[in-house]
Amino acid sequence: MSDTLVEPVEEAPAPEPRWWQRPETKSIFWLWLTLTIVGLCFSWVPAWLLGGSASDQMRDIEQTMTIFTAAAAPVAALVWAVIIYSLVKWRYKGDSPPPDDAPGFDTNVPTVVIWVIGSAVLTLFVFVWGLIKIADIPSAGGVAALPAGSAIPIEVQVTGQQWVWNFTYPGLGGIQSDQLYLPVDHPVTFEVTSNDVTHSFWIVQMGVKVDANPGAVTSTVVNPTTIGTFDIRCAELCGILHAAMQTQAKVVSDKDFAAWTAQMKATAPAPLPSDEGGG
């Protein structure tokens, strides 16, 4: 009779484990953490490769590299953690396509939202950091403005000509040199131009770089903080001997700089009657 028939009661299916309870989440998390720590340990390497710095702006560049590398470590670690885990745990080996499909979820809106917001936050951080550093570094972007209270800068006119640099010191009697002598701890402004094609004036260890354009003068600023000899290299392909368009920046003590200036003035050829001067 009908009332002895009992419909089988369907057992409620076991609740799907939430994503944080799933096995892969924990493993990928630990993998991610390990790789992030490895990445953070690596974050000093770019600054080390950049070498010694001879100015505050180079130190700023190296600091930025370290911070950005550290910030990038968790991002890279996440990608690599998933890659590694997937190759170990989710792998299918075979000649024919896998017989079964995997779980068919199309998306996970919270994940997408968090990911986009997270990358936007990182981007904002990187951007704001960049803006702050630009404000700190008077020469970045070619804006030549010095902090208040700086000594009157030495002006150096930099002329790039295929394939040699020459420097003129208008404030020091117009002395000219193929090497850039500078006194330590004294701001310098560079007025850079070219007599022919586009070059790029790059004092490597000081983090100074600005293009030398024909028909235009670009300017930049630096305060050399370390005594020593540094490399000036052309950073824009300018023809056959671009690789050899290099010279030195020699940062010396005030005393030595004065001696050098005096020597250059003494040995400068006397102005010719027909000499119109200038560069």
Partner: protein
Amino acid sequence: MKRWGLLVLTVVLGALFVGAVGALFSWASPQSRLPVQAAEVRGTANTPKGVLPHAFLEISSWADSMAGNCHGSDGGPQPDWVTFCPTTNFQLPANALVTITVKQYDGGEKITNPFFARVHGTVGGTATLNGKPFTQIDPAKVGHTFTMHSISGEGQDSVFVSVPLQLTDDEAVANVVEFSFYTPAAGTYYWNCEFPCGDGTLAKFGGPMATQGYMAGTIAVV
């Protein structure tokens, strides 16, 4: 077995192809085709840096390649280009005193950058023009320059020598310019003329100015 054989053959043929293309480019490059003029060591010299070997190099500069006669009897591929002769690739001894004599047969004009109308980097900061010492010439009377420079790097010797070569009024009679300098440690160095005369090209720095064998070259210091 056959597959592996063909595979190895592919790799070997590929490498040979790359090698052949490389050899062709290298053989055809001005760097390889130009002869190297070595400075001749004749004795020693007493210098403030001690007793050094003294080497001598003689070159010349010309209004066109026909007159210079070092690109072939018909003037070579560019008979109307100014040129240095016999070549622009030189070899100098390291840590020595080198005296270069340039016979300058070309005319000239006003130089764009008077920095190069002055003498830089030579012994005593002077050079001689037809026997008379000078530290600069009239920027309006430059024919060519000899400007030697180098790559910069830690542990790398650097050198900068620049001497203006005055124009001659009569292309049959050369101005003889002589200068001496100390060569750095062994390495490769570079030189070019800094008086732009590549007519028709931008800033007159194309044409012969930018071609090895004419107005630019390499200097092997050995």
